[in-house]
């Protein structure tokens, strides 16, 4: 572990640097609090609603996928370092392993777990609306509106209008 000695020294130095900066700022900076200044910044508008406590589930999905793929990568490193020593056996083993992980990526993509943006509809493809309510012209042409591109998530779990006041 002796190799980590300079790393430890730099870690202490960096933390000290930040601490000393904060202390210096405390001594040098003026303190002049007003209610407006200490409110959340919203470009001058008085903040009406709490920041959302819930997030699109996609972000959690990405976090979970990251765990899968990061473990795969860490698993690949020892093999990559010793590739030629492990020979054909190692190569085939890692091929099977990668195929499994790749298959799970394909599955996730096919389930739409990694779709983020608005639905892109190619002009070449003829589309038939299932019911008459769908605004096909709006989607197909350049006259796209928020109604056609933004998926509404609803107000479930949000604060009721007027309840926060």
């Amino acid at each position: 572990m002796a190799q980590y000695l300079p790393v430890l020294a730099l870690l202490i130095l960096a933390a000290l640097f930040a601490a000393v900066s904060f202390a210096a700022s405390k001594l040098l900076a003026p303190r002049n609090p007003t209610v407006e200044k200490y409110a959340p910044y919203e470009c001058g508008i008085i903040p009406g609603r709490e920041p959302p406590g819930r997030f699109p589930v996609r972000f959690y999905l990405v976090a979970m996928l990251f765990v899968i793929f990061d473990v795969e990568i860490i698993f690949l490193y020892p093999w990559a370092v010793a590739n030629e020593r492990l020979g054909l056996f190692g190569l085939v083993a890692i091929l099977i392993f990668s195929a499994t992980v790749f298959e799970s990526l394909v599955y996730l993509i096919s389930k739409g777990a990694l779709d983020w943006g608005p639905l892109q509809i190619s002009r070449r493809q003829d589309l038939t609306p299932v019911d008459d309510d769908t605004d096909l012209d709006g989607i197909r042409s350049g006259r796209r509106t928020t109604a056609t591109t933004i998926r509404r998530v609803g107000t479930t779990g949000r604060f009721e209008e007027g309840a926060a006041a």
Binding site: A18, P30, T128
Partner: protein, 444 residues
């Protein structure tokens, strides 16, 4: 490098991997002199990093203004070179605001979590040393043999990945603890982006490990310092790994740094200032410092992994280790300029384009390239044989690799189409197969 390690038995190999590291700390005993040298190295690295960041901020502002037909900072010091220092001192005298809705403890902790990993990543970078003629780049100071880098960790590259993951905590917690909506949105975006691109970053890195056969940065540089192809073209990993890992690494490195065109963290039109909207005074400047430090360090990592770091010819008349620094610095400048150039030239992507690029292009591409590279290297070096010669077995590896790639691309395309169709159905639209160009072309 490879012929040497290939002749070792497995037991020796793993001992060799574990024994990698700075020679002065490698002999099992640590005396007072070693500790002093370690601390001295840390202090020098600390000062060098701060000065480098100061110059980097100035360099970026100056180059961007030139690219935009402006003059840029030119008042503080010659060519405005002290502008960053002036800004830093000014920020000490600004009021430090902790918003009332903020979580005070985490709000104050977050700058440390951003700054400390930024400092620590730099420890694994060899910045000088003589690597010509098979030397290992060691210099002798006060009778102690050492590398010109803060620490040569046996797990060097893993340490880099660990630190870049840790830096995400700083961003995430800064946004979460602010108690305001724009920082929160910015930080969630930033974390999703950073972890998405970390996968592509790690996979492209694996190709370098495959070629160098080590995780230690010093040995990765040594592996690139050998006799070049045809005596002229250097044996850099850029060429040895076949360019694709380099390109993937630069793209995902830019995304990892949250720099343009991937700077969604600070997309000011959408999110005000991103995760540090609520930060002011010196707290803000520490985030800023960490960001630019990461840019410098990432450029240095690219140079180390793909362009041979300080390895280069020794023309004499200067001490050998100084030539290493000259080469390192010149290569570093290329990438620093590249990052600034990106910022001046490329418009910001859309968030879904960013996620698509990472997950659907870069990750499969770098995984496929890694496996292909491994198979070809095994075939060429005679680990297994088919058809009597290394050439034939390479051909076989290429053929199987191409076949598997075609299957993989086909599967990916199928998956993307099926996801699209599913969304069309959900949107109340059904794709009718087989009908195309039905008069919609000339509509606008």
């Amino acid at each position: 490098m490879l012929s040497r390690s290939a002749s070792l038995t497995n037991g020796h190999f793993f001992n060799a991997v574990l024994a990698a590291g700075d020679p002065y700390l490698g002999d099992g005993s640590v005396d007072l002199g070693d500790v002093i040298l370690a601390i001295a190295k840390a202090i020098i690295a600390f000062v060098v990093l701060l000065v480098a960041v100061m110059l980097m901020v100035w360099f970026e502002r100056k180059v961007v203004s030139r690219l935009q037909n402006r003059i840029g900072p030119n008042v503080a010091g010659p060519f405005g070179i002290l502008q960053t220092l002036a800004d830093g001192i000014k920020l000490f005298f600004k009021e430090d605001i902790i918003p009332t809705r903020a979580d005070r403890f985490v709000f104050q902790l977050a700058p440390y979590l951003a700054l400390v990993p930024a400092f620590l990543t730099f420890t694994i970078i060899p910045i000088a040393g003589d690597f010509s003629d098979g030397q290992n780049g060691a210099v002798t100071i006060f009778g102690r043999e050492t590398f010109v880098q803060v620490a040569d960790l046996p797990v060097g590259i893993l340490f880099f990945l660990a630190m870049s993951s840790l830096a995400v905590y700083g961003i995430m917690l800064a946004g979460w603890s602010s108690g305001s909506k724009y920082p929160l949105l910015g930080s969630v975006r930033a974390s999703a982006q950073a972890i998405s691109y970390e996968a592509a970053l790690g996979l492209s890195l694996a190709s370098v490990l495959l070629v160098a056969g080590s995780l230690s940065t010093n040995e990765i540089v040594q592996a690139q310092a050998g006799e070049g192809f045809g005596g002229i073209i250097p044996r850099w990993n850029l060429i040895v790994t076949g360019l694709i890992p380099f390109v993937v690494f630069v793209i995902s490195g830019t995304a990892e740094l949250n720099r343009p065109p991937f700077d969604f963290v600070e997309a000011e039109q959408e999110l005000v200032g991103g995760f540090h909207t609520e930060y002011s005074s010196i707290r803000f400047s520490l985030f800023f410092l960490a960001e630019f430090m990461n840019t410098v360090t990432m450029s240095a990592i690219i140079v180390t992994l793909f362009l041979g770091g300080p390895a280069g010819p020794n023309f004499g008349f200067l001490p050998g280790w100084l030539w290493g620094f000259v080469w390192f610095f010149l290569k570093l400048l290329i990438f620093l300029f590249m990052f600034v150039w990106f910022r001046a030239t490329l418009p910001r992507l859309r968030y879904d384009q960013l996620m698509d690029l990472g997950w659907k292009v870069l990750i499969p591409l770098s995984l496929a390239w890694l496996l292909l590279l491994a198979a070809i290297r095994q075939a060429r070096n005679g680990v297994w044989e088919y058809g009597g010669s290394a050439f034939n077995s390479t051909l076989l590896a290429l053929a199987i690799g191409t076949g598997l790639t075609v299957i993989g691309v086909g599967l990916l395309g199928l998956a993307i189409r099926s996801a699209r169709d599913e969304r069309l159905r959900a949107a109340g639209l059904v794709a009718v197969a087989g009908v195309s160009d039905s008069g919609l072309e000339g509509e606008d």
